[in-house]
């Protein structure tokens, strides 16, 4: 395999890793290996001896890679973090997307950068999906909270739904809070269902 870069992908998200692998095959002749799920990053690096390691920053064992940076007799291939000193925005993007990359000293920079760039694009896409999902879940939960608060007000104060909603909205405006927060507070202070008087 001389002449080809060997890339080790250490990503605990199997779906994302598969996507990255596919993308890397499209753009390069690199040999792709994956760290097995639940496997040790360091063991995989020792076994595969890759030129480039793409690491999911959520992995706690990334700290072990700093140890590999030292040149020693046990470790003749020093590993450095991929840093593009001329493109700071790119490095910020990578860190913000939650991906970092290490390469063996001597791996040609122009060969490594497209690989890291592809990883950043895919990680960023997944992060956007995760954010969207979180927001969707949050807004759904908030809507349920507001509905429950309205129901409580309607029952306790004998008002109709628009009146209950107006009450919540007024209180939110007066207290500079979001309606969902006021609703949650109202439910939190209400007696648990079925509580004895």
């Amino acid at each position: 395999m001389a002449g080809y870069l060997k890339v080790l992908v250490a990503d605990s998200n199997a779906e994302r890793a598969a996507l990255l692998e596919e993308r890397l095959r499209e753009i390069s002749d690199a040999v792709i290996r994956r760290v097995p799920t639940g496997g040790s990053l360091l063991d995989a690096v020792a076994a595969e001896i890759p030129d480039v390691v793409i690491v999911d920053m959520a992995r706690p064992d990334r700290d072990a890679l700093d140890d590999l940076r030292r040149v020693s007799t046990d470790n003749p291939r020093p590993v450095v973090m991929f840093v593009d000193r001329d493109d700071r925005a790119f490095m910020e993007d990578a860190i913000a997307a939650g991906v970092s990359s290490y390469n063996v000293v001597g791996a040609a920079f122009p060969d490594v950068k497209p690989i890291v760039m592809a990883a950043v694009v895919i990680f960023r896409k997944y992060q956007q999906l995760a954010t969207d999902l979180h927001q969707a879940r949050t807004s759904l939960m908030e809507r349920e909270t507001i509905d429950h608060a309205k129901a409580l007000l309607m029952k306790e104060r004998n008002v109709d739904e628009p009146q209950a909603y107006r009450w919540l909205r007024r209180k939110a405006m007066n207290e500079s809070k979001r309606i969902a927060v006021v609703a949650a507070e109202l439910l939190g202070s209400a007696k648990p269902e079925g509580a004895q008087e």
Binding site: R62, D66, R85, I95
Partner: protein, 396 residues
């Protein structure tokens, strides 16, 4: 960070993150008029990279790692200079060996470990090693950690060569216990509560604490980007004041239960409060009589704990040079200068706290309580001995 924006601070799931968590949860940051977002990070490398590239404004950090960043030895060695305007804690780590090795050191009964000094446990470990001809596998949480340097110091005190007689690897603190359970490691040096967790699982025992190796050495520091100090000095001062007040709160034994409850929340350490209390101030008096400590008590405020001693930076740099992480020609003076006692002093003075008269002090000179020259009044200090009785005289 621009004025009015959120101050992003990174931390790891460790008991000595307490001052940051308390400053946030008890409203010390808010009282100083700053909005802080705490970010629980999975690794020290994440904290280092995010600080260097501006995705965090400040963070808890290992002092040797802060120094290593200056030399481009760790993380991405990004474009931003990182400075240390305050320290967060003293002590707090244990050297924990597996049941097999700790039983051998104890001579059978691990209950007797509590009667041995750290020098004695190191010497017995050396004896056991000579007989066994095995190379035990020891883990530290990061190459550039207080843990690595203290564990090496402990081993070397008994003539054990850390690079020849044992093998070292890096294991994240939260995975040390699991690694010991799976027999992947024979011992580790890590912060609380992991020594306690390992002991409760019946996997091993503490054979030394960071306090026993070096009394009251700096354990974690508060690091920020230089650009923050330059562009938003008043916001940095506000953060430091909040941290100093929170540190004072964390240091009171009466508050340990409340602090442990805050830390134990799912979004922070996600561990039982009762375990976290074993390394919080006053832990010794809470332990049932004579029972053995598998945790080392952190100091958050007493003994001028928050002062970023340049002499402590010098000691860490000397040890980093000793073990070959830094070349003999490394510019140590420039690295030491990332510790910024004058930024601490400004915050401390505005709170009416005494400020040490000098940025350095000698170590290993006091085996008991003493008074540190400070303004306006001297500060009561604890001992600063090393287990081998050595003395460290800093450069001025």
């Amino acid at each position: 960070m621009t004025a009015g924006s959120v101050f992003r601070i990174g931390l790891l799931r460790l008991t000595d993150a307490a001052p940051l968590i308390v400053a946030q949860e008890c409203g010390y940051f808010a009282a100083e008029g700053i909005e802080v977002a705490l970010s629980v990070e999975p690794s020290w490398a994440n904290i280092a990279d995010k600080l260097c590239y501006g995705l965090l404004d400040g963070a808890m950090l290992l002092p040797p790692l802060a120094l290593a960043l200056r030399f481009g030895l760790s993380g991405s060695a990004g474009p931003e200079k990182i400075i240390v305007p305050a320290a967060l804690s003293l002590n707090g780590n244990t050297v924990t060996l597996s049941k097999r090795w700790s039983t051998a050191i104890a001579g059978g009964d691990t209950a007797s470990l509590g009667e041995l000094s750290a020098v004695e446990t190191a010497q017995r470990f050396a004896t056991v090693l000579r007989r066994s001809r095995e190379k035990p596998h020891l883990a530290v949480v990061h190459t550039f950690s207080t843990h690595n340097l203290l564990l090496r110091y402990w081993l070397a005190t008994a003539g054990i060569d850390p690079d020849r007689d044992v093998t070292f690897s890096v294991v994240p603190p939260a995975q040390t216990v699991e690694a010991m359970a799976a027999n992947r490691i024979d011992g580790f040096c890590a912060g609380a509560p992991w020594g306690e967790v390992a002991a409760r699982a019946g996997l091993g025992h503490a054979v030394a604490t960071s306090h026993a190796i070096w009394n009251n050495g700096t354990e974690k520091v508060f690091a920020v980007r230089q650009v923050l100090a330059d562009q938003s000095p008043s916001r940095l001062q506000a953060a430091l004041r909040a941290l100093l007040r929170a540190a004072g709160y964390c240091d009171m034994p009466a508050n340990a239960q409340a602090v442990a409850a805050l830390l134990s929340q799912e979004k922070y350490l996600d561990l039982p409060a009762e375990i976290l209390q074993t390394s919080l101030p006053g832990a010794a008096s809470r332990r049932s009589g004579g029972s053995f400590a598998n945790a080392d008590e952190s100091v958050f405020f007493a003994n001028a704990a928050n002062f970023p001693w340049r002499s402590h930076a010098q000691w860490f740099l000397r040890e980093m040079t000793r073990w070959g992480y830094l070349g003999v020609d490394a510019d140590l003076a420039t690295a030491t200068a990332i510790f910024r006692p004058e930024l601490y002093a400004q915050a401390a003075r505005s709170l009416g706290l005494a400020v040490p008269a000098a940025g350095v002090k000698s170590e290993g000179q006091h085996s008991g309580p003493w008074l540190l020259p400070a303004s306006p009044a001297p500060i009561a200090m604890g001992p600063d001995s090393f287990l081998d009785g050595a003395r460290f005289d800093p450069a001025p």
